[in-house]
Amino acid sequence: MEEIKLMKGNEAFAEAVIREGVDAYFGYPITPQSEVIEYLMLEEPYKRTGMVVLQAESEIGAIHMVYGAAGAGKKAVTSSSSPGISLKQEGISYMAGSELPCVMLNVVRGGPGLGTIQPSQADYFQTVKGGGHGDYKLIVLAPASVQEMADFVEDGFKMAFKYRTPVMLLSDGLIGQMMEKVQLKPQKARLSNEEIREKYGSWATIGHKPEERTIITSLELKSERQEKHNHKLQAKYREIEKKEVRLEKFNCENADYLLVAYGSSARICQKTIQLGKEKGINIGLIRPITLWPFPSDEINKAADKVKGVLSVELSAGQMVDDVRLAVNGKVPVEHYGRFGGMIHSPDEVLEALEKNFIK
């Protein structure tokens, strides 16, 4: 049954994880996302669906538990915040290399180092450009509401299993901590071991006779075979780039200036559009929902009609690199954003736009 509730973003994510029929959550507490594991422990999903919830000894332990479970064909989830996600990079790279599906959540806080517990979008490079070692990509979804914190669990798992690849939800402390109305999906049943054998038995380690046995590994000592494997990964990434780009457009018809912003920053920019209107400045906004694959084509097309593009991020300027590549020199592209846990106001964004392109 669908249900409407008032929840924190972190809680909505946790509840959606249960309702998705996820088999296991492995995590380690860190602010500002500890509500995820706290909610799960309180809800006791092992009684509701048989789902396993385990507090690991570290983020490293947690991601490798996800690796083990995913390698055995199960739906596994982990979540953390920036410093914890840095620790998880080892396992993330292994999962990408071994082609294992999972959904992860990063509720980003300000860095570098221990940084601050306040919201930030400074993990864009880490998430979109690699993070761990080797040539790999994560599918990255950027929720901008509590509703999307819940919805992207299902969307994430669809893509994770379709492409056998890890999916990251790149959120931040603002979306994770704020409370909003959320419509929760009905409870899905977890797959039985027999269903898993039927669907994923050809690759998952679920126990086989020697002649049918399966191996999960990212190791290939023969370079010619490693290159072949990497080509296979790259072909998969090209397919994802073709099929899975998602974005949202606001006021892009007849806009003179374009903002590009994701997650919480995109919410702030919606107000900037209104403030611009009051001043007679026609501003459009493109919100990438998938940060990888990045909506480069749409941004490139939109650049034809505007005088300038402003990438608005809670960082010193990271996504702006991808916006510049997308715009490809058609019009000036600039960055604006507060960072280190500070959040820009809609006025500050408008002021930055005027300063860069109008005054």
């Binding site: 083990g68 055995a72 071994s98 046995r213």
Partner: protein, 256 residues
Amino acid sequence: MSENITPEEIIKKGTLVFEKTKLMTDAHLSYCPGCGHGVAHRITMEVLEEMGVGDQAIGIAPVGCSVLAYDFMNIDMQQAAHGRAPAVATGIKRLYPEKYVFTYQGDGDLAAIGTNETIHACNRGENIVIIFVNNGIYGMTGGQMAPTTLEGMVSSTSPYGRDLGMTGHPIKITEMLAMLPGVCYATRHAVHKPGLVRKTKKAIKKAFENQRDKKGTSIIEIVSNCNSGWKMTPVKSNEWLEENMLPVFPLGDIKG
């Protein structure tokens, strides 16, 4: 006359009493001549075969010489990042409590980079088997010092012998793990002599029976040789093992 039966006739008429288990692949092992890994692999697979649970077993290969264990152990296997095998095993076993899950780890993997994962898997009493091969050195990377390297023992990163003041003592991780309530069985064995191989196999069988009976974590340490790393012939390295390794890592049950 049966007394004069030829070997050829024995092979024809006699009973087959020992052959390679079907749970080992036909691939030639990548280990150095005389390396104990081969025996440790084989008896682990023999136990699973004798228990009839090969198709219900999932093994975790570590980083180290046995990184390619999945090429030889003819069952479902996952390869884990360095030291993380107990966490990977946790992820599998929690979701498949009826399967037989084991890690196969070396001393660098288990007793250095993987201490956190190992200690906490044991402390939670994860119902898994840990096969821990201790040869006092990092074999795969070319003979560097391990946490278990003996005092004064030469390695490529302790070229003048391990200096305890500089790098600490050979770690007795199995004794440490035995202290944890989650561990039901901790024992140390060796595989360089026929009788010891039999005993080690018995211990591995007991460990998997513990898992079947949901008793908690079982850890089987196997003190083994590394003739390449130690720069000795296989026979000489086994003698050296008896004279030098066993006084520091004495054989026998530590718990259970």
